[in-house]
Symmetry: C2
Subunit: 314 residues, 2 copies
């Protein structure tokens, strides 16, 4: 089958072996997949992964349990051991033995087919297009901010980093009716935020120690430093992305100002699908390009350009 | 008056000028004061403070508003500007212009008298001895952990660092009926914990990723690293002390494991006095020595010795 494989370098492979259906799993034909920053980071060495890349997808079940065959589905990316405390609490994303599609221990979705445990699947309601459904995974991740931190109506909230994930987080934060400002540099995110009625501003327009919650989607140590400047005493900084290197953090500032620094990662697909169905989040405006798998290497180059938002593969 | 002054070095001064009573303030005769790790750190250069050291005290109001004169009091250490957002929210400890007794911008309590705003004072109930009342400030700081983090009955909680503050935090955590383990090295804290019926253990007895909440009272980067090892995914690490230098923290671990790192500092004197009155916390067992101010330099040397708990001055 066709597949986009990372093995020291990113290669299109027309003849990658098809997955074999495992017990408890479904064979899914991928209709559409999305390139995420994590995929790009993996091609730069992050996570040490080798295999088929990709974890954002929508597709059709071709084989597996009878009640799933023919269904249009999206799927969560973490596959736990099923036995540990995290798995038994229903959070396989925190299983220490977990596999993650296209990230750790298991081939991903930039291919014609993938095999995935049935328990990871979610049916996609008819009213959600493929182009919207492929955002289920990053939208779930964006919504996880609300799982980890109670954001209250009218609270001053600042989002730093308006890339493809940040723009989803911005729309999710807007749902809380918090007093939201998004720090942007480029014209493109500023225009999108304006379209959505969300305040975009430069970093200098935000006063130090003014935000109850700062969400850092910048992925850069500088962005995090700035987040710490902006947050109020007893406020919260949410880490929404991973960082290259190991940036140092002024722990004394956290202690003295009684700040909470909270990590946030994968989220609920059921919640993301509900939100897509409601139409309250605009994901289609984030799509910048669509490529075939054959052109996957070019698609990655495009997706890596500064300011480019979502690039899809099919 | 007698005073213990830090000015490049720690000196006993028999003739330090007496404070003059300011409007809205009270003149307090110090009956008993306690040496805190922060005081010791200041003599090593922390906070750049120069003046009379000390912030833990109990004393008698000698002059000031008539309804306060003669009262036995303790006092909170932060003096805010009164005008900023933090002050107006009733949290002068987060005022950017704040003074702090014996720490920043204002003489402290290792002297015969101090002047302190009346709004900082709390009357001490008769049933609380001076020796117990002098712990109001560190006990309030210990209780602040419960203000910053909701610790639930039966949750697995680990405390790292069983020094004089840690042993107060341990007793406060016990009040929640959480499943508490305290990591100790010395025999002395182990004996005290045993006296109080609190489980003491070595670091090797705690499984990685097993604690819902880890409170780090170690003050060392190594202690914090270990705290991150011990906490569960989606758990909380509380920073209860400041750190020398600027230790780096693995931010990706916080993001991936969705950990919350929460700072905690000064707390409520009213709550601390309530707890001292109830007798549910044993502070007297923490007292290791008592010195006069004249012997203050020796008292500091003693308080700085490894394993020594509370040293008092009068």
């Amino acid at each position: 089958m066709r597949a986009l494989v990372f093995d020291d370098q990113l290669t299109y492979r027309p003849d990658y072996p098809e997955p074999t259906l495992q017990p408890g799993e479904a064979l899914v034909h991928v209709a559409l997949a999305g390139i995420c920053n994590t995929d790009i980071e993996i091609t730069r060495g992050y996570a040490g992964f080798r295999g088929v890349l990709g974890h954002e997808f929508v597709g059709y079940v071709e084989a597996g349990p009878a009640d799933w065959v023919g269904e249009r589905v999206v799927g969560s990316i973490n596959i736990g051991c099923g036995a540990c405390a995290s798995c038994q609490q229903g959070i396989p994303e925190h299983c220490e033995q977990r596999q993650a599609l296209g990230i750790h221990g298991r081939d991903g979705v930039f291919a014609d087919w993938l095999s995935i445990p049935v328990k990871n699947l979610h049916r996609v309601p008819e009213t959600i297009s493929d182009e919207a459904a492929v955002f289920a995974e990053p939208l779930a991740a964006a919504m996880q901010v609300l799982r980890m931190v109670h954001i209250q109506p009218n609270q001053p909230v600042v989002l730093v980093g308006a890339g493809k994930l940040g723009l989803l987080v911005a729309q999710v934060l807007r749902l809380t009716a918090c007093d939201l400002a998004v720090v942007v540099r480029g014209e493109r995110p500023a225009a999108l935020l304006s379209l959505w009625g969300i305040r975009a501003c430069s970093i200098d327009e935000i006063s130090d120690r003014s935000a109850q919650v700062v969400v850092d989607c910048s992925g850069s140590p500088e962005g995090l430093d700035r987040a710490l400047d902006l947050v109020r005493p007893r406020g919260t900084v949410v880490l929404k992305s991973t960082y290259s290197g190991q940036p140092s953090l002024d722990l004394n500032r956290i202690a003295v100002d009684e700040i909470a620094v909270v990590g946030s990662r994968c989220g609920s697909f059921a919640a993301a699908l509900r939100l897509l169905e409601s139409g309250m989040v605009d994901v289609l405006s984030l799509i910048d390009a669509r490529y075939t798998l054959e052109d996957g290497v070019r698609a990655f180059a495009h997706a890596s350009e500064r300011g480019v938002l979502k690039v899809l593969l099919s």
